[in-house]
Symmetry: C2
Subunit: 354 residues, 2 copies
């Protein structure tokens, strides 16, 4: 059901008041402070109606109303007007995110850092899923006498690497053979495709060369699904200042979110490319997240996801300010990447090493 203009105005006023005070909002406060030209009684009626429609919650009979997840959703989608970033903020962001295109993880850390600094919330960065990537290059490097490092370069520029124990010395020439073989078989192939059919692609033929190489495949697989995708969080302590974190349950949920990271990874995964994604309170299935909002912005190069930046905070978030800020920071990152790409192109990109 669509809300009429007046209901929207009232909802907006309630949300802004609640965001300011973190206290349930009463009708008279709205009537006196937000000049809608309505008496408290009228506003009361409208509030009762908004509550029935699910946009507001009421802690108990004689408290004011607080916005529900659904209320915030409507607010974010079609009521609020995004604030413009100030010149100062833009300046700070531009200064914080430097032109280091290849060390993409550093770019992400810088973004995370400035995001945490400019907001009252905790910033997050999440490494990407690699499902849609293709293998650009694989390198096997002998480390010491019995270890191998596998390095995979994906076509989005992400590099994953890991070390395996081979139990016994592997001759350099064998490594060379494996290396060539793996590249021959896997170059240009989709990560997920390889992962799902690892045996088909590399299992059989190599066995007879050296069966000590088996652990290599296991590790290769771990790399392919990016099993250890990292989540980085900054500014978590700031969230403790919010009164909603006073309740022990909420707090425990929060620590749980930090510690397991599962929820954050899952949310980052489901976000749409090139869009700001906002997950408000109980909109997502994770019980731990019911009092929090997560905002994510996937970063891509040539349609390939390279990572996600975001924010986590209480549902009572300053969406108006924060959403354009994430957008600006994300776009700045993309900008830098693009610049870097062009520069490299100008220098004449070689198709591949070796």
């Amino acid at each position: 059901m669509l809300l009429d203009e007046r209901k929207k105005k009232i909802l907006e006023a309630i949300i802004e008041e609640y965001n300011r005070t973190a206290e349930p909002v009463g009708s008279s406060k709205i009537a006196s402070d937000y000049n809608l030209g309505l008496s408290p009684a009228t506003i009361r009626n409208e509030m009762a109606s908004l509550e029935e429609l699910g946009y507001l919650d009421k802690p108990h009979t004689s408290a004011g109303r607080i916005p529900s997840s659904k209320g915030y959703r409507l607010y974010v989608d079609s009521i609020m007007k995004e604030k413009n970033l100030s010149v100062k903020e833009k300046g700070l962001i531009d200064k914080a995110i430097k032109d280091d295109v290849v060390k993409f993880d550093i770019l992400m850390k810088e973004a995370s850092n400035i995001l945490a600094k400019l907001t009252d919330y905790a910033s997050i960065t999440i490494e990407p899923e690699l499902d849609n990537c293709e293998v650009e290059e694989i390198k096997l490097v002998k480390i010491g006498h019995d270890r191998l490092m596998i390095v995979i370069l994906a076509n989005n520029g992400i590099i994953k690497e890991s070390i395996v124990n081979c139990d016994e010395e592997i001759p350099e020439q064998n490594i060379e053979i494996f290396n060539n073989y793996l590249n021959y078989k896997l170059q240009g192939m989709n990560f997920k495709e390889i992962y799902d059919n690892i045996d088909k692609y590399v299992g059989e033929e190599l066995d007879n060369i050296n069966d000590k190489i088996v652990p290599l495949f296991a590790e290769l697989n771990n790399l392919l699904i990016n099993k250890n995708a990292k989540v980085h969080m900054e500014g978590a302590t700031k969230l403790l200042d919010f009164p909603e974190l006073k309740k022990k349950d909420t707090l425990k949920n929060f620590l749980n979110i930090i510690e397991t990271q599962d929820a954050i990874k899952e949310i980052a995964r489901t976000g749409y490319d090139g869009n700001i994604n906002v997950y408000i309170g109980n909109e997502c299935a994770f019980e731990d997240l019911k009092d929090f909002t997560i905002i994510t912005y996937k970063q891509s190069i040539n349609d390939k996801e390279v990572g996600t930046i975001g924010l986590i905070g209480p549902t009572r978030m300053d969406y108006k300010t924060v959403i354009p800020m994430i957008k600006y920071i994300g776009d700045t990152i993309q900008e830098k990447i693009k610049q870097g790409g062009e520069e490299n192109d100008r220098k004449g990109k070689e198709p591949r090493g070796d």
Copy 2:
């Protein structure tokens, strides 16, 4: 000043009672439950004395006493008797820590995991300082067309690696030259020594080969001091169940400890090799740690530190149980490493690759 036997007994009783209840302990409780053959009045006198000596604190006049850091220190050092681990506990630990010698970080994660499971506290693992290590091998690997991966193998088996952007294509033969040059110059050398004199060792001569290689040195340096030494924590949420974490300040301190990791790293650094190190409350200078105890146990291979395992919890910790447990887990790790080393030796260790 040395405490007489009776004072020690009373201190011990107070600590055990306080550890059980987290409430200030009164004289009559001690008199009735711990049969020391003394009346409450006598115990009161002794408690007053212990307080004056700094072993006990008093929240207010009519509360009981709680042990101070100094009290716990005495208790840990010379009063308590460590419990023997149960057969079941030993079994669980042995089962949890598997024989994967080379992937040392996995060994550490397993240790951390079982430590968190068997105690009520949060377990930590910390990557080592590399100051005392020597370079065993350096590898430069070309990734894509304009990136280089530096891999350093230290003589304790730790591998550090990082990726640098070289701005432009570097010919394979140049990489080969750098590689040989770096190994020639740095093999067998102390990490810290190199770090302190990086220019002397590698700066000058290479410049004329290719000045695009400069970022390489910066990154090499970062690797050498292990600037990004990782701290891993497990079971942090469990600490929220302790009543002492109810106070918001304590909680904020805790989150701060988790988030910055500085205190943990510093504490891990100062610990003695091959010993259990216990840092109780305000014994260490970090304000955030004043209500917590950190126990660490450095892990070494051939006198070279390879990482630290530990626990963090409230000062009111079950030291009697937890200290022998960390000891056992650490020793198990060392055992596995040693076994692995012998195995490798049996197979005939080659001095070095290439």
